[in-house]
Symmetry: C2
Subunit: 557 residues, 2 copies
């Protein structure tokens, strides 16, 4: 039996094939150019994207649900721009019932067809990259280039990566197989077996405030391509990027002849607790969450009917033992701490440095000199307001601001946080990073996450003690990233062994253009699922395999 492949599969077959190769090689590859240059995206793309973004402001967001809808507007831009986009506020029952009704035809479409449709959704979103980048920038506080890269291009790459893993998993078995068992001298037993991919049920994606697309897309597309209808519950502070995503996804689904309710926006009013309401519905069988450890742990404990994939918080740590490039190390760490004001789940927080100082290419450096070197490098990055805001962006919400105030009182400030006036957005809330020195025994402070532009230089007795602190804190609280600087292979081996024991990815001696808080799709795994900061990784087999089941039928041939 041959089936005619769906036209959208044909359109995107080459991209899918290349992605399938990339996930087996884990080398460098990207499908969506990360440069927002007009040479890449065309002369008018930037202006058109910004205009499309502006057109949403102060309006009812266009989603094609039937009937009149209650509306909610919950966003406040870190740049001080009035957003006031009003989103439909659907009833949980309505969301779940519509999702389930949309499922059977999507289930019965082939893996090829679903992959083709999902890749077309990505292509449609890619065509709206600048619109999406503006939405990410003005809801999260990211600088524009970062919003374009992390919020659009890299998010599409991560989505494609998840689709590729899911497609590989769905197609690893044939759709039908012949089975012929020898039966001594008699006729063999002959059966034909059909293996159906069936979805788990309704999938729920719970977005975060800082990376609404990048962190949501892998789970969203992994669930959708495996046949599950998806409810997208955005963070109330960053709805627009996911609303735009849902809008274009519904458009593509409808054009391809499927029910657009396969993806629905679940916007909420304050105090709706919609995530918790949906997460505990029996129909909801898959949940993807990015956000606080507290709520992630709650989901894991309470959404028991569902497979729950969480990315939470941890204590990202760098062990500084020695370096052959002191200036490069300081610059690299400074950039990692400054980028998006440390508001990345991957930003380092704890810098473990021997109190006696370290050996470097510039001779021995005392702990104060190490701290000062990093502080000076941060100062250079953030000294000029116009350049600073392109790196540090704006502070996403009041929680971060309050934490920054609290942290300033903690210890010896190597570098104080400063207010910066944004040249283009005078109402933007912009702060430079804070660097505080702590003693090794202050683990009641550095032993937990301080999300935001807050980092600690921790004076340890020795690199051996640094490794012990690393094992203890990351073992207890988890981490998404870890780094080490050393010129001694024995130390590097010792730290790598500790990283395996506590299950955290390790970056070694980064002094150039790669940063510990960045992970490249198709090559770097983001989070490991092997420590308390996350129970899953983006993206590996474990992330996709449980999103569908195989149901077989068999009959004699």
């Amino acid at each position: 039996m041959t089936e005619t492949p769906h036209p959208l599969y044909v359109t995107h077959a080459d991209t899918l094939a290349r992605a399938l190769t990339a996930i087996t090689e884990r080398g460098y590859w990207s499908a969506y150019p990360e440069s927002p240059s007009p040479r890449v995206y065309g002369e008018h793309a930037a202006a058109e994207g910004e205009a499309a973004f502006r057109a949403y402001l102060g309006q009812d967001f266009p989603l094609d649900h039937a009937g009149s809808l209650a509306r909610v507007a919950t966003e406040r831009s870190p740049y001080g721009v009035d957003l006031d986009v009003r989103y439909p506020r659907l009833d949980p029952d309505q969301l779940v019932v519509a999702a389930r009704a949309a499922m059977p035809a999507w289930r019965d479409a082939s893996a090829q067809t679903r992959a083709g449709v999902c890749l077309e959704i990505l292509a449609r979103l890619h065509a709206h990259s600048f619109e999406l980048a503006n939405a990410v920038q003005f809801t999260t506080g990211q600088a524009f280039v970062m919003a374009f890269q992390a919020g659009a291009a890299h998010a599409f790459d991560r989505a494609l990566e998840a689709i590729a893993y899911a497609y590989a998993e769905m197609t690893r078995h044939p759709r039908t197989a012949g089975w012929e068992k020898p039966a001594g001298r008699g006729e063999p037993l002959r059966m034909t077996k059909t293996f159906h991919v069936v979805p788990r049920g309704v999938a729920l994606v719970i977005g975060c405030n800082t990376f609404p697309t990048w962190n949501s897309y892998p789970g969203l597309f992994a669930s959708l391509v495996t046949g599950n209808p998806v409810l997208v519950k955005p963070h109330p502070g960053a709805v627009l990027p996911l609303a735009i995503t849902v809008r274009y996804a519904r458009e593509v689904l409808a054009e391809a002849g499927f029910d657009p309710d396969l993806i629905q926006l679940a916007a909420e009013a304050p105090d709706d607790r919609l995530a918790s309401v949906l997460a505990t519905r029996p129909e909801v069988r898959i949940i993807d969450f990015t956000g606080s450890s507290e709520y992630g742990d709650w989901l894991e404990a309470n959404a028991r009917q569902a497979s729950v994939y969480t990315e939470k918080a941890g204590v990202n740590t760098i062990i500084v033992d020695s370096t052959s490039d002191f200036a490069g190390m300081c610059r690299n760490i400074a950039f990692s701490l400054s980028l998006y004001s440390g508001q990345m789940c991957t930003t380092p927080q704890n810098l473990l440095v021997p109190a006696a100082g370290i050996e470097t290419d510039q001779g021995h450096k005392s702990l104060d000199e190490v701290a000062a070197g990093i502080a000076t490098a941060i100062g250079k990055l953030t000294g000029d307001p116009a350049r600073a805001v392109e790196v540090i962006g704006a502070i996403v919400n009041d929680g971060v601001l309050a934490r920054l105030t609290e942290a300033a009182k903690l210890g010896d400030p190597v570098l104080e946080s400063r207010e910066v006036t944004h040249p283009a957005h005078p109402d933007a809330v912009v702060r430079t990073p804070l660097l505080v020195t702590l003693d090794a025994d202050a683990d009641d402070v550095y032993g937990r996450e301080w999300f935001g532009p807050i980092a600690f230089v921790i004076a340890t007795g020795s690199t051996e003690q640094s490794v012990r602190i690393f094992r203890r804190t990351v073992g207890a609280r988890g981490a998404l990233t870890a780094g080490v600087y050393s010129t001694d292979e024995q130390v590097l081996t010792q730290v790598e062994s500790a990283a395996l024991d506590v299950g955290v990815h390790l970056s070694v001696n980064l002094t150039g253009g790669v940063f510990v808080n960045q992970s490249a799709a198709f090559s770097d795994f983001h989070a490991s699922g092997a420590n308390p900061a996350a129970n899953a990784a983006l993206t590996d087999g474990a992330y996709v395999a449980g999103r569908f089941r195989i149901v077989q039928s068999r009959r004699h041939t």
Copy 2:
């Protein structure tokens, strides 16, 4: 960098390669001959295996733990044979501590090495097939040939299948990858990335009374080959087959230079509640369980720190609509109901038959005639005691016996259960199947599992009602198997659609030598994970992918 492959990997590389092919084809393949014939296993194998089994009876079971050990003996043979094998009763702390200590060297061995060692364990067990078959027979009540096939050969196939899936998953990514990102006109960014497979932690396997090896091996070997130390907690009624397994596995591990505590027997005294104690230990990160829905649900709810894989109970159902081979259908169903006295989690329980009867190759058959046809076929299989016991075996425990007594009072007995005297084992508890007719409204009875030689012919208003009952009961309680008999393709399509909706594997028009309660390794998936009877399938990607994590390190090249 090239590494010398481990000699045990070299020995078994061909078998592994063939298994890796088999899991992508899902056609017929088997690595371990299922016939206990001397032509296959050698002239003395049967006698030697029986002697080895007998040598365990009344003795301390030989396991090489240090120190003097408390002992427990908890088995009672359904054949009335005195077993009295005394197993070490280890402290939970001791088990967990020893398991964790064994882990690092096993983790740091390659996937190839671990696969080679696991395949050598299977080879060692295979060499002791008759010993294992006797242990299975005399603890479970299975007839010998079944114990040899399901308890040894097929269990090895299922183990190999799980090893193959896990090996494929561990090796889908390279161990190291080069990454080179273009950087405009400058030098590209170049990194070398290393991807480590790290185990989740201590794995716990909780065995069942009826299929101690077949149901335990997939989880046991999937966890072990992915680097996790395994605690094997047997059912107190069927310890010996798993004790033998642990004995030879430890032998192979030690010979290969690994800590034998990578696999430990966790035998218990009555009231130890050892499964619950171990299952809630923070160090235990993977649990495989086969048994009651009640306890499986408890594990899923309470062993929250672990990935829990359960195979529980359901209401296996056959929809009878029409047939072109009435005699074949009756024989086939009769054998499925009789095999091992219905004490399989896959045995059909509910036969849904229209009250108005069905069309067959022998003309119209009333519901009573359908029931009588099946009853007569059971009678033929079980009429002669010597032949009967080779099919029905013995009753595994008093629980089944009590249920049989209760079921006999339920409705209209089409076929009463009879006591049979076992020609070779006069103390064996042997009963023939009971067949009871019920009305469609008696779903308080047939809507739950009656484990044992108990089946119901349920009179429905029509095949449409049969399908509705199938959807409702299997949707609510789950099922591991389903069957349908119909000459009408529309009915078959309708039932297949219902089977997809409730997530149960379907066998269509079985009238020959394939039975609904049997699944073939490498081809049939056992359980689906898509209904309440199980949360996982044997074996697919989802079953193995979560048993390890990938932890990476990266540095500039």
